[in-house]
C-alpha cells in the first residue's frame, strides 16, 4: 500500500528524516510514536506529499509519488488525512465540509455524495450538527467532522497526524473511539499519536522514531513490554508517567 525507500528530508541544513524505509500493507494499522522533533509528522506528511522528500522514493497504491509528472491530485484523493488542528473549512457548514471535495474534485453525483455525507456524519455521532459551522462546534466535534470529511472521499488509506493532541482531555476518547471502530472495519491507517491505549487496541505495528530515524518497529506487545532500544524505553517511561 505504502512503500518508502531511503527517504531523506532536509529543512535547510536540518536533517529531519534520515534514510527512512517503511512499508505499510493493505489493511494494516501502523502507529508512529516518538518524542517531539523526531520527524514523525514530517514522515506522515511525506506519504501524501505535503512534504516533498529531499531524496528517496515513495510509492502509494503502486504509484510512485517521487516520479516526475505524477498526478498528485489523483493520488491524494484516495489518501485521507486528519490533522492535529482539524483544518476544517471555516466558511462552510459541517455538511458542506464533508461534501465539498467529493463534488468539486471527484465530480460525484451531488445527491449520492450528500447521502453518504449524512450517513458518515451520523456514524461519527454528529447527526444534529449538519448545518453548524466549525466555530460552533467543540474541538472533538470538529475532529469528528474532519474524519467524516476524509471518509467521504472513500479513501484507500487514512493518515492521522496527532489527531487528539489539540483536544481537551474529555474529548480525546470520542475521537479515539471512532478511530478504533475504523480500524476494526479494516481501514488501512497510519497514525502519529502518543495515545498508548489506542496503539495497544488498534495497532498491528508500532514504529518508534527518534532523531529522524526509525529506532525500532514491532507489535504493540513487543514495543510496550520488551522495547529493545534504550531510547524507546526512556520515551515509554516518560509517557507512562503522564498517561497513568
Amino acid at each position: 500500500m505504502v512503500k518508502m525507500e531511503h527517504i531523506n528530508k532536509y529543512f535547510g541544513s536540518h536533517h529531519v528524516l534520515k534514510d527512512i524505509n517503511l512499508n505499510v500493507e493493505f489493511k494494516e494499522r501502523v502507529v508512529i510514536m516518538g518524542p517531539s522533533g523526531s520527524g514523525k509528522s514530517t514522515l506522515i506528511r511525506c506519504i501524501n506529499f505535503l512534504e516533498k522528500p529531499s531524496s528517496g522514493r515513495i510509492f502509494v497504491n503502486g504509484v510512485e509519488l517521487t516520479a516526475k509528472k505524477v498526478s498528485l491530485n489523483k493520488v491524494r484523493q484516495k489518501i485521507g488525512m486528519v490533522f492535529q488542528h482539524f483544518n476544517l473549512y471555516p466558511h462552510k457548514t459541517a455538511l458542506e465540509n464533508v461534501l465539498l471535495a467529493p463534488i468539486l474534485v471527484e465530480k460525484r453525483d451531488k445527491k449520492e455524495a450528500e447521502k453518504s455525507a449524512i450517513l458518515l456524519l451520523e456514524k461519527v455521532g454528529l447527526k444534529d450538527a449538519y448545518n453548524k459551522y466549525p466555530s460552533q462546534l467543540s474541538g472533538g466535534q470538529q475532529q469528528r467532522v474532519a474524519i467524516a470529511r476524509a471518509l467521504n472521499m472513500k479513501p484507500d488509506l487514512l493518515l492521522f497526524d496527532e489527531p487528539t493532541s489539540a483536544l481537551d482531555p474529555e474529548m480525546i476518547q470520542e475521537v479515539l473511539d471512532i478511530m478504533i471502530a475504523l480500524a476494526k472495519e479494516g481501514m488501512t491507517m497510519v497514525v502519529v499519536t502518543h495515545e498508548m491505549g489506542f496503539a495497544k487496541q488498534a495497532a498491528d505495528r508500532i514504529v518508534f522514531m527518534d532523531g529522524g530515524q526509525i529506532m525500532e518497529t514491532g507489535t504493540p506487545d513487543q514495543i510496550f513490554n520488551n522495547p529493545t532500544h534504550e531510547r524507546t524505553q526512556a520515551f515509554l517511561e516518560k509517557l507512562n508517567k503522564i498517561q497513568v
Partner: protein, 225 residues
C-alpha cells in the same frame, strides 16, 4: 460682494450654463474608473495569487510587475502609453490609455492586497484542500479566497478610491476626463475658481461614499472572528 474675485457670481453662471462640458467629463471619468477598476481587479487577482504559488518563475514575474509599477510615477506610465507606444506602432485612443494606465497601476497595488489576504489564511487550509485532491487553483477559488475576501475588501475599496482620483492624470494627455474638461474650460476663460471647486466636489461625490463603505467593511471584518 460676488461681483469680482476668483469666485465671482458671473463665473458660476457661465459654468452652470456650460454644464454639459462638465457632465461629459464626469461621464468619461466614471467609465474610465469602472473599466480601469475591472482591469485592476483581474490583474491584481492573477498576480496576487501567482505570488503565493509554488510555480517556478511565478513569484519572479509578480515581483517584476509589482516593483516596476509601484516604483515609477503613474504620470510616466501614462506618458509612455500615450507617447511611447506609438513609436512601437501601437496607437491607443486616449480613453484606452486611461483605462490601461490606471488599471495596470492599481493592479499592482491590488496584487499586494490579494497576496497579503491569502497569506493571512492559515497554511493548514491549503494543506487540507491539497490532501483532498484540490488543485492549486481550485483551492484558491473554493477554500482560500472566500476566506481571504473579508480581509481583502477594505483595502481593495481604498484602492478603488485612489483609482478614481488617479484617473485625473488623463488630463495631462488630453484625456477628455473631468479634470481635463475643467482645465481646458477654465484656461479659455480663466474662471479657475468655480471649475476646480465643482470638479473637486464631483470627485468627492464618487470617493467619499466608497471610503465610508471601506471603513464600514473594516469594522465588519474586525467584528467577525
Amino acid at each position: 460682494m460676488f461681483d469680482t474675485g476668483p469666485f465671482a457670481l458671473f463665473k458660476w453662471e457661465k459654468l452652470f450654463s456650460d454644464w454639459r462640458i462638465f457632465a461629459e467629463g464626469f461621464a468619461t471619468t466614471i467609465s474610465v474608473s469602472f473599466l480601469g477598476l475591472l482591469l485592476a481587479l483581474v490583474l491584481g487577482l492573477i498576480f496576487g495569487v501567482l505570488a503565493t504559488s509554488q510555480f517556478k518563475g511565478a513569484k519572479f514575474i509578480n515581483r517584476i510587475y509589482v516593483e516596476f509599477i509601484q516604483n515609477t510615477p503613474l504620470v510616466i506610465q501614462i506618458f509612455f502609453l500615450y507617447n511611447g507606444f506609438p513609436h512601437l506602432g501601437i496607437v491607443l485612443p486616449v480613453f484606452a490609455v486611461g483605462v490601461i494606465g490606471v488599471g495596470v497601476y492599481h493592479g499592482a497595488y491590488i496584487a499586494e492586497v490579494v497576496r497579503a489576504g491569502i497569506q493571512s489564511i492559515h497554511r493548514g487550509q491549503l494543506e487540507a484542500a491539497y490532501s483532498q485532491g484540490f488543485t492549486f487553483w481550485q483551492s484558491m477559488r473554493y477554500i482560500i479566497l472566500p476566506q481571504a475576501k473579508v480581509i481583502i475588501f477594505p483595502p481593495l475599496t481604498n484602492q478603488a478610491v485612489s483609482l478614481i482620483k488617479n484617473t485625473s492624470v488623463m488630463a495631462m494627455v488630453a484625456g477628455g476626463d473631468l479634470m481635463y474638461h475643467a482645465d481646458s474650460w477654465s484656461s479659455n476663460n480663466l474662471y479657475y475658481g468655480p471649475a476646480y471647486v465643482i470638479v473637486g466636489l464631483l470627485y468627492l461625490s464618487l470617493c467619499l461614499p466608497l471610503a465610508r463603505f471601506a471603513s464600514y467593511l473594516e469594522r465588519k471584518a474586525q467584528m467577525s472572528p
